[in-house]
């Protein structure tokens, strides 16, 4: 029997620039004990759909224009605020995307966990503090928090990302809900943690008999966890059906496009590696003072972000650098580019040594090595137009003068696939993918030989991600670039790199030719990492989750 039945839901945003149909005529139903996955790219309306059910949308600008959402025979869209509070407290729970920001840093996790029990709107259901604590500790144990009794009184910052998400799950389950909405619950987590959390959600769903709505952009994750899939795009449903039929027998063009865009399999381009070392790094160490701990003998203890790393990159090579968050992969990239001071070791560019040069001496080298950053929303100056952003490196390094800078910028925009007419626009007027194209244009403006790309596609949707990856491969080809490609996403790295290095806690644990390493990983850490990659194939993915 359907626990939630949504029919013809319409949510429009009334903004200054007109009406945006965020959700337009969406219908679906979820049964008890079933998992419905809502899949779509950013802006497809998948989150808005679910938030409108719980009245969590900002109104205005949002307005529900039509439809019904029956939960247990009561329409959630028209019920009174009191009834809504009742539902939120008893029946429906949400797990949000980012466990770092969805817990209050000033309260212990225990206090936050028992809040719904001791402040229940229904007076008869209010529980005593000790009873609530008992239940919370039991749940913490169930979601895999070790030693829940003492962890109960810890603050959120004392937990890692994965542990916080476990706390969030416990918090969602504490009121014994019948419907659980998970909004990208694993997107902010490392791939090995993601696997654990997914398994946990699956297990809890079976033991607690809840219906789950699972919002995700990641088809690999969805393949393993969902019973039914709803594909959304631009506020409308493109396709709906059970998981196997969506993945294996999709009828819809958009779904097929989504599935095709997932990077999979080995690199298709032939290797351009030349037998000449462009970058040589030997025994590089980058340590930071740990200000969170007390000084010992007048000195701070050291965080060893990069610890004795040696590597060579040949001219024309794409080296993939893989690691989880905190592994030091970004710091390694920045250390090679001399953006952070090196503690020890030597970095050579061709025949010349970079370490030990003053900032002024480094300027000519900066032209020859560039960086592409992860977040296209933060890496562009919001108050500079595309023209200003792209002309700055050209003019500064004397690669263009006042007369020909305009045509040079136009050429750059052509190269990265931006329409020339956008030259006078500011970054906020572009989508994420277009912004990343601007950032790439800035990086290749100085005609560098070596580029470090730090997670250049992780903030992007899967179809956009495929386009940007192809753009990067094209540019590597046409500009004869050498590249270090940093990523946490193993499929992407496999798709793009000639050689792969696995970094763990500042140390390289394994390296090798991409396909050789994939076929035969030696280090247990690498083996675990490779096992954790979600596969966008329901049968394989279910089997994979079982085996973890």
């Amino acid at each position: 029997m359907a626990i939630l039945e949504v029919k013809g839901l319409k949510v429009y945003f009334h903004t200054r620039n007109g009406v945006v149909k965020a959700v337009d005529d969406v219908s679906f139903s979820v049964d008890s004990g079933e998992t419905l996955a809502i899949v779509g790219e950013s802006g497809s309306g998948k989150s808005v759909t679910c938030y409108s059910l719980l009245d969590l949308l900002p109104k205005p600008p949002a307005r529900i224009e039509g439809g019904t959402a029956f939960f247990d025979g009561e329409d959630l869209l028209t019920c009174s605020p009191d009834r809504m509070r009742h539902h939120r407290c008893n029946d429906i729970a949400v797990i949000f995307q980012d466990p770092m920001t969805s817990l209050n840093p000033f309260l212990t996790i225990g206090e936050q966990l028992i809040e719904p029990l001791i402040y229940h709107p229904d007076k008869s259901l209010i529980q005593s503090r000790s009873k609530a604590r008992e239940r919370a500790i039991q749940l913490l144990d169930e979601v895999g928090i070790i030693d829940p009794d003492s962890r109960f009184d810890c603050y959120p910052h004392e937990f890692s990302g994965g542990m916080r998400q476990r706390v969030m799950i416990a918090m969602a389950l504490i009121t014994k809900p019948r419907l659980l909405i998970c909004d990208e619950p694993t997107t902010a987590l490392d791939v090995t943690i993601q696997a654990q959390i997914l398994k946990l959600i699956k297990k809890l769903q079976q033991t607690h008999e809840v219906a789950v709505i699972f919002i995700s952009h990641d088809l690999g994750v969805v393949a393993g966890i969902a019973d039914k899939v709803l594909v959304m795009c631009e506020g409308t449903i493109r396709e709906t059906g059970n998981t196997d039929s969506i993945f294996y027998r999709s009828q819809n063009e958009y779904t097929k496009k989504l599935l095709a865009a997932i990077p999979s399999g080995p690199k298709k381009l032939e290797s351009r590696v030349k037998p000449e070392n462009l970058i040589r790094v030997s025994h590089l160490k980058t340590h930071f003072n740990d200000y969170s701990k007390q000084k010992i003998d007048g000195k701070y203890s050291q965080i060893k972000a990069v610890d004795d790393v040696s590597l060579n990159i040949s001219r024309g090579e794409i080296l993939g650098l893989v690691g989880e968050s905190g592994s030091g992969k970004s710091t390694l990239g920045r250390s090679i580019l001399q953006l952070v001071p090196n503690t020890a070791g030597i970095v050579n560019f061709g025949a010349d040594q970079l370490t030990g040069l003053s900032p002024r001496q480094l300027v000519p080298w900066r032209r020859r090595m560039q960086m592409i950053f992860q977040d296209p929303y933060a890496s562009l100056n919001p108050r500079m137009t595309v023209y200003e952003t792209l002309s700055e490196p050209l003019l500064y390094h004397g690669l263009a003068n006042r007369e020909n800078v305009l045509s040079k910028v136009s050429e750059l925009m052509d190269e990265v696939g931006l329409a020339r007419g956008h030259m006078r626009k500011y970054p906020h007027e572009f989508s994420g993918g277009q912004r990343q194209r601007i950032a790439i244009g800035r990086a290749i403006a100085t005609k560098p030989e070596f580029i470090i790309a730090d997670e250049p596609v992780s903030a992007l949707d899967v179809t956009i991600q495929a386009q940007i990856l192809d753009l990067i491969l094209d540019l590597v080809e046409s500009h004869n670039l050498t590249m270090m490609f940093i990523s946490h996403d193993l499929s992407v790295v496999r798709y793009i790199s000639d050689r792969v290095m696995i970094l763990h806690q500042g140390v390289i644990v394994e390296e090798g030719k991409t396909e050789e390493l994939w076929a035969n990983p030696q280090d247990p850490y690498t083996q675990n990492l490779l096992r954790s990659i979600p596969i966008a194939d329901p049968i394989l993915e279910r089997a994979r989750i079982e085996n973890i």
């Binding site: 620039n17 900066r366 200003e388 500064y396 007419g421 800035r442």
Partner: protein, 296 residues
């Protein structure tokens, strides 16, 4: 996309587009801000021309006349010494506007540079620079001014500098906070990895992004500076009668508020008008300088 069809020539024609040009285009569509700007320009022009267009002398007393209500001869009435209020407000505006703008400009320049440098370089330099700010904060303002007056003698320019030298402290703190959060943004790192010099980064990437709060604070500083001048003058440290400023006129107006309300009302209206104009202009500028607000 329809923009794709724009030809090269059309783009060249609008060359020179930048934050400031776009800001001006946006500002010119904001009528409230334009009205504010207009009023400010009018006040400034009147102040500049006052010696030639003022109907009466600002110091010539006419004790027989005394305080009279507004009339055809004296549009805004006369004060208790029989001096024309319109003339005195016009002359007062010269002083008040000058104090407001010059002292704020001084505060702005010192504050932005000090805050930007401290925030950008951080570490020990930041600690030293901000401790200096703290020390100046702790220094009693009046003693500081009196000391300056004793050493350099009473001088109107010195007064401007003294007020400016006190007001920049808050500005420096605001800018420093902004810069510290900007410093770690990826676009600043990107500029650094392009090899730009630190000064270029501060000038092109950091300071423009601090403008929002700076403009708002500036529009709040100008009126507070004007009132500060009135306070100093009242204590005998600033302007001395028979010269006047709006602040002084208001102070004297308060004393005779019950008998001669126009002595309070008209200088008050002049000051409020300036404040309104400044606020509208400041809001408009802040919006215009933020590309994220809609262009239309």
């Amino acid at each position: 996309m329809k923009q794709d069809s724009l030809s090269q020539s059309e783009i060249i024609e609008e060359d020179g587009s930048s934050l400031w040009n776009d800001a001006w285009i946006k500002l010119s569509k904001n009528y409230l801000a334009l009205a504010g700007l207009g009023i400010l320009i009018l006040l400034c022009v009147v102040s500049l021309l006052t010696p030639w267009i003022a109907p009466y002398s600002y110091e010539q007393q006419n004790l027989d006349l005394g305080a009279t209500a507004p009339s055809l001869q004296h549009w805004l009435g006369t004060d208790i010494f029989g001096r024309d209020m319109l003339t005195r407000i016009m002359y007062g505006g010269r002083v008040s506007l000058m104090v407001g703008f010059i002292a704020t400009a001084v505060a702005l320049v010192i504050g932005i540079l000090w805050g930007a440098i401290a925030g950008f370089y951080g570490g020990r330099l930041d600690a030293v620079m901000m401790r200096i700010v703290d020390i100046l904060y702790a220094l009693p303002f009046m003693i500081f001014i009196v000391l300056l007056m004793v050493v350099f003698g009473r001088n109107i320019l010195l007064l401007f500098l003294a007020i400016g030298a006190v007001e920049w402290l808050t500005m420096a703190r605001i800018v420093r906070g902004q810069v510290m959060s900007l410093r770690n943004q990826e676009f600043v790192e990107a500029a650094y990895s392009l090899g730009l010099s630190q000064w270029t980064i501060i000038r092109r990437h950091i300071i423009p992004n601090t403008l929002g709060p700076v403009i708002v604070y500036t529009t709040l500083t100008i009126p507070s500076v004007m009132l500060l001048e009135a306070f100093l003058s009242f204590l005998g440290l600033g302007i001395q009668p028979p010269e006047s400023s709006w602040g002084l006129l208001i102070n004297y107006g308060v004393e005779t508020m019950e008998e001669y309300p126009w002595l309070l009302i008209f200088p008050g209206v002049a000051l409020s008008l300036t404040l309104f104009a400044l606020n509208f202009l400041g809001d408009g500028l802040r919006d215009a300088l933020d590309p994220r607000t809609s262009k239309d």
